[in-house]
Structures are given as C-alpha cells and as structure tokens.
Amino acid sequence: MRLQMNRRNFLGASAGAAALPFLPRGARANTPFTMQSAWINDAEFAGYFIGIDKGYYADEGLDLTYLPGGPDVIPESSIIAGRADLSLTTPDTTIKAIVEQGAPFKIIGAQYQKNPIGIVSLAKAPILTPADMVGKTIAVPPVNTISVEAVLAINGIDRSQVNIVPYSYDPTPLIRGEIDASLDFTTNVPYTIETMGEEAVSFLLYDFGFTIYNDTVVVTEETLRTKRKELVGWLRASRRGWVENFEDPSLWPPKWMGTWFAGTGRSLDNELFFNTAQQPLMESPAGYMAMTEDGIAANLEALARVGINGTRDMFDTTLLEEI
C-alpha cells in the first residue's frame, strides 16, 4: 500500500507550514506525528498524557497529535486511512486482519502485558471461571466477541451453551439482574458497580488461557519503513510517561480534570481506581510497552486456538531494543 498525499494531507501540511513562523522556537523542528487511541480519554492513557504534558514527545522531536477513540472507532482503520501514524489496538482483531485480509500491519509494542478485559459479575451471583458461564447471559461488546469465544474454546465449553448479547458499556442491566455478567475492563467497571451499592467480582480472560496483550502498538509496514526514528522516539517517550505515572498513580489524574478528562463525565475517584488497578497488568521485567519472546509466543498460542494463525514476524521487537 502506498500512502499518497491527498488533498486533506496537503491542506494540513500547508496549514502547518503557514503556522510555522508563529510557533515558539523550540517547537519548530518537531515532526508532526499522530496516534489513534483505543478509547475515550481516561486513565487508560495516562502515560501518553504525561508524555505530552511534560514534553517527552517534544524531547524526541515529535509534535504529537492525540486522537481519542470510542466504542464505534475502529483504531486500525485510522492507520490504513493514513489519518494516524500509529494506533493502539486489540491484538486479536489486528492479527486476524493481517491473516485474513493481508493488512500490512506490524505490532511494535504492547501497553498491557495482561489484557485487562474480564468477565464481571455481582458478588451475590459470582461467575469466577469460564465453567460458571454455562447457561448464563453474558453481555459482550461486539468488538470483543471473538475474545470470549476464544476463552470458551480454550476451556472446552460449547459456544451454544452461553447466551452472548450485545453490551452497550452500561452496567445497569447487570445490577438489575437482566444479564448475569458482562465483559468489560476489570480496571474500570467494578468501581462503577461499587458506587451503585453492589459488590463486583471478576476474572481476567488472560488467567484462563486467553493470554494476549492489549492496547498493542500497531503501525503499517510503510510507516515502519519511513518513520522508524519517530516510532522509536514515541516508544521511548511513552515509556518515560508510564514510569512517571506509576511513581504515584494518584498524582496526575487530579491535574487533568480540567484538561484531558474535561467533559468526559467521569469522576476523579473512578480515574484513580483505574490508574491503580492497571499497574500490575502493565508491568514487565523488560519495562513498560515491552514485548518479550515468551509473551509473543503466548499470544500466538492463544490466538491459534481460535483459528487465528499469526506468526512471529507480525511482531517487530527491534524498535523496543533501540529505546
């Protein structure tokens, strides 16, 4: 796939050039670089916000534009369309797209070493293992259906024994007992359920054989060839951001209530809960954003069990080595 300079890019580039004389001196040399996020602004992306606020990306010569995601945003599409240089994705959809559609993607890093998605249920009717899901109604966002099907397959449960319905990211049906469990970020929704006066329990899909990363850092092969220096810089700045964030997970979110988090309608307590809960899922002996050989092998093995046959060359760890 060749990336062409279309009219929009051209306009953007000329507008950028026109604005150049007015920028402060330090910003002049920076290369424009765009990342497509996977979700609306919340603590899940704290490391990147710190990197932008403290100028870690600028230190790498990057002028970073951050595009928020959302339930209906397909992050991979942004890099295919050339709207972003880099995207945070779920590895199952990314690898499926490479295998089945020949999508020219490479995975160059991973934010979550353990995928935070899990099955969340109420403590008074707990679902603690995949076996407990039999005969139950589970609400699953359509994007994640293959993940749940994977866990069912790995644990030898017939797909037809579980009733999967669409999930609209609202825990109310769960609390009202309309559904028995939902698939959501275990770093997030248990907080909401607790504020509604119920106790939540959950298990990670990761702990039951679906050993995949999440928020994998994905680029097109074209970008990998032409912007290698920028990508390494992005990884380095992002790692610095995450290190800074976890030195004190309660330090940064309060500063963003009027900026990054403005208008999301989420409370500070929710972000603090999230930021604290995600730390163990992101840590790796090899550092934040890392991908180890064992980790990659575990990803490929889990995906192979649901018929997504990825290969080692879909992951490129050489940029991480350059950090």
Partner: protein, 524 residues
C-alpha cells in the same frame, strides 16, 4: 373565570399532568426499578453537571447547524432544478432515494475515516436533512395554484417569473414543513456521527462517556438537552410556517390539477435510458467518492468489490449464507414495525384535527422519542421490554411515526377551504367532513409519508438489532466492524440501501395505481 382559563389551556394542563405523572413514577421507581428517574432528579443532576455542557452543546450545535444549512441549501436548489428540468429528477431518482435510505449507523464510521475533523458530523447531518427538504420543495413547487401561474403568464411572465412569483411563494409552507422535520434530523445525524467519529466534544461523545457509569439521571439529562435543541428548532419552524401558511393557502378550490411532473413520458428507448442512468448513478457516485478522496482499497470497497465478495470469491458461499440468515431475521419485523408506525401516525394526524388539545399535550412526548438519541433510549427500553421482538417493534415505531405524522398532518391542514365548506354548508358533522373530504384530499400526502417511512423502518430495526437484540442485519454490520471485515460492512450497507429502494419503489407503484383511480397526481 378560573375554569375558563383552565379550559382554554388544556394543552398546558395536559403537559403539567404528564410532568406530574413522570415525577411520581420516578420518585417511587415504578419503571424498571428506577430506570426512569424523576424529572426533579434529572434537573438536579443537570445543574451539578452543568460545567461539562457548554463545550458539548457547542460542538453539536456547530455540526448540526452547518449540516442543516448545507444540506438544505443543496436540497432547495436541487428541488428547484428538478421542477424546472423534470428529466433531472428522473436521472437522480436512484441517487435521491439512496441518500435517503443510507443507514447512518453504517456510514458514520466510514465517513469518520474518509473525512476529518467536523466533516463527518456535518456530512451526516446534511444527509439527514437533504431528502426531506428536497421532496418538500418539489411537492410545494409542483402543487402551486395553476390559476395564479396563468395570471402571471397572461401578463407576459415567463417560466422564471412563474417560478419566482408563484411557485416559490406557494412552496414556502411546504418547504418550512420540510425544515420542521429536517431540524431534529440534523441534530440526530450530528450526534450519531459523534458516536462513530471519536473526538472529545459533542453531546453524543458525552453520552458515550456516561453510558458506562450507570447513571440514568445523567443520561436522561443529556437526552433532554438534545431534545431541547431539536425541539426549539422544530418549534421555530413550526411558528414560522403557521405565520406563513395563513397568507398563502388557497382561499377557493382550484378545479384544475396543477401541471405535474409527468412520469414516464417519451419514447421507450429514452425511458429505458433514463431508468438505466438512474440506477447507475448511485454506484457511480459511490465509486467517485472513494476515488475522489483516495480511500485506501482495504478500507473503501467499490461496487465491484462487493459483487466479487458476494458472488465470485471462494468465501462467497459463506458470506451469502451469513447475509441471508440476517435478512431472514430482519425483514419480517421491518414490515410489522412499518405498518404499526404508519397506523399510529395516521391516528395521531386525524386526532390532531379532531382533538387538537390532545395532540398538543402529546407532542412533547413525541418530540422526546424523536430527538432523544436512540442509543440513550434503548437501554431504558431494554429494561422495560427485554431484548426481544417487542423492543425492536417499539424502536421501529418510534423512528417511523414522527415524519409520517408531520406529512399526514400537513396534508390534512392544507385541504382547500372551499372543499371543507361544502359538507359544512350541508350540516355535516366534523367526522363526516373528515371522512368525506379531508382524508381523501390528503391521500397524496399519506403516500408521500409512506415512502418517507419505508427506509426509516429498516433503519429502526437495524438500530435495535445493533444496540440490543444482537440479531439480523444490524448485528451483522456491528460484528463485521469488530472483525475489521470491511467487505461485509460495505455489503450490508449496500444491501440495506437496495432493500429500502425496493420498498420505496413498491409503495410508488401502489401509489400511482390508487391516485390514478382517484384522479390525483403523484407527489414525487
């Protein structure tokens, strides 16, 4: 005195009763254990959250306002062109219907990727208003009083003079009634695109962030603010048209039918060529859109790609099977929902004539169901009705009846006074007057409403399937997005448009037969 005042403001009274009922239901958590919060709780929450709102409201207003302006400008210009050059209307027929029938949920993510910034929202808002205003313009322009035109011609006025002095003025009430429907549609389009487009600001984006927090009072608050914006725009155009209709309605009955856009004239080869062009144009535009924006091949599928995917690839059999299974779930319920929505609209239009104060009390409720984003309303409906067939039917009725009602009410309101006065002079009661004159006279509008409703019925079903039931075409579309199956996304979008066009065409054929028998003309 007090009783007199009370009687005169029955509409207000009914609204107050409704609000009081809402408050009681909310306070005692009578609906689904508190899924419908009390109005006071919603207002309290609004004041707590108020600092969040200005940015979101502004983004939604900017997008829907620009879309409304652009879409309506194009629509009125197109309507005028179509009336002057009826052949254009025939050539662009397929395209017009296709634009109208595009399921916004299918194209929102595609627009978000091919355009940038606010453009996807503006485009979706503009697409939402185009067809309504365009057809209102054409109806208004072609149904002018031919006697006035004769007068202008007798004094030496040409085609442009007639257009300017007679047709455009005569069309104003119709265009304004189009605006009335178009205004909430623009707000909805913008909000729907916010769901697909990412970005940080806009009521749709705000709603997204709030859905996961299980706070019905806030979700209702956002919905009510969206409703207020849409309701105010609707009210403004309703007021304007009430002012203007009074001065432009025919005072006496014109016995001659207006010179209409004669369908299907010319030699056979000519007619066939026009039909072929009309069918080919939407596909050409589809292809040109992808080419013009240089959308990467993996993301943007051409008509040929879709045909290949469905019929020529090794995986075609599997793709066909998935599509047919989805259609078998979607189509029956679409027909049922459409019938219910039309019936409801008809009852409402008749009752608005017979019992105006009932309608006035009902209108706020109707507007809420129209402008409250279905994504916010659906969780509530799910709690009330579960995830089964009745939910899909309710959602479908709620998206179809409003435009149908506005069209039908317009038809009933525009019955020439002379025709109404005849039965009245013979002492007929209101009901027989309605039965003998008003309803037959407004049959063209009933058919126009039906054509307007058919594609919306399919959209309603798809929205319910996408958001709640996990069945049928809507679910297939949603799931394909999850699997990055761009071929299937384009296929489902194309198939749903084709089905809508087929609906439309079927209604039109029935309409021509019936109206020909009644000596009326089709309002294209």
């Amino acid at each position: 005195m007090a009783i007199d005042l009370w009687r005169r403001h029955t509409g207000l009274r009914n609204a107050l009763v409704l609000i009081a009922l809402w408050e009681v239901v909310g306070q005692f958590k009578l609906v689904a254990g508190g899924a419908l919060p009390a109005l006071s709780a919603i207002v309290r929450r609004l004041s707590v959250d108020w600092s969040d709102y200005p940015g979101h409201i502004w983004a939604t207003l900017a997008a829907s306002g620009s879309g409304f302006l652009i879409g309506n400008t194009i629509a009125i210009l197109a309507g005028i062109l179509f009336v002057i050059f009826p052949v254009l209307l025939r050539v662009t027929r397929g395209l017009n219907i296709a634009i109208f029938a595009l399921p916004p949920i299918a194209i929102a993510p595609i627009l978000a990727l091919t355009l940038s910034g606010m453009a996807p929202r503006i485009t979706l808002a503009a697409l939402g208003v185009y067809f309504v205003t365009m057809s209102a313009t054409v109806i208004g322009l072609s149904q002018h009083d031919s006697r006035t035109a004769d007068l202008v011609r007798a004094y030496g006025g040409g085609r442009w003079q007639v257009l300017w002095r007679v047709q455009l003025r005569g069309a104003l009430p119709s265009i304004l009634s189009g605006f009335r429907v178009a205004a909430p549609a623009a707000v909805l389009g913008a909000i729907l695109a916010e769901f697909g487009g990412g970005g940080r600001w806009g009521l749709g984006t705000y709603l997204l962030g709030s859905l996961g927090r299980a706070e019905p009072d806030r979700i209702w608050g956002i919905g009510l603010v969206a409703t207020l914006i849409a309701g105010l725009s609707y009210g403004a155009f309703a007021l304007l048209s009430a002012r203007l209709v009074g001065t432009s309605r025919a005072v006496s009955l014109n016995p001659a039918a207006p010179p209409s856009l004669q369908p299907d004239t010319g030699a056979l080869w000519y007619r066939l060529a026009l039909v072929a062009a009309s069918v080919a144009l939407p596909f050409l535009v589809w292809w040109a859109f992808l080419r013009g924006l240089s959308v990467p091949a993996m993301l943007g599928k051409t008509p040929w790609d879709v045909i290949r995917y469905l019929f020529l690839d090794p995986t075609s059999a599997q793709a066909q099977a998935r599509l047919l299974a989805a259609l078998a779930q979607t189509l029956p319920i679409t027909f049922a929902g459409m019938a219910l929505g039309m019936g409801f609209a008809f009852v409402l239009a008749v009752s608005s004539r017979m019992l105006p104060e009932f309608t006035r009390a009902f209108m706020p409720v109707a507007l809420i169901t129209q402008t409250m984003p279905l994504v916010a309303l659906t969780p509530l409906l799910v709690l009330l009705l579960g995830r089964g067939t009745s939910l899909t039917l309710w959602v479908t009725v709620s998206v179809t009846f409003f435009p149908a009602y506005v069209m039908m009410a317009q038809g009933l309101a525009l019955v020439p006074r002379a025709a109404v006065e005849l039965p009245r002079a013979y002492g007929a009661r209101a009901w027989s007057e309605l039965r003998l004159v008003a309803i037959p006279a407004s049959v063209p509008y009933v058919f126009a409403a039906m054509r307007l409703t058919a594609p919306r019925a399919l959209l309603g079903v798809m929205i319910a399937e996408w958001l709640a039931t996990g069945r049928g075409l809507g679910n297939l579309l949603n799931q394909s997005r999850g699997y990055l199956d761009f071929n299937m996304i384009w296929t489902v979008a194309a198939v749903s448009v084709l089905i809508s066009v087929a609906f439309y065409q079927a209604v039109l054929i029935a309409e021509r037969r019936v109206l020909a028998r009644m000596g009326m003309t089709t309002t294209e």
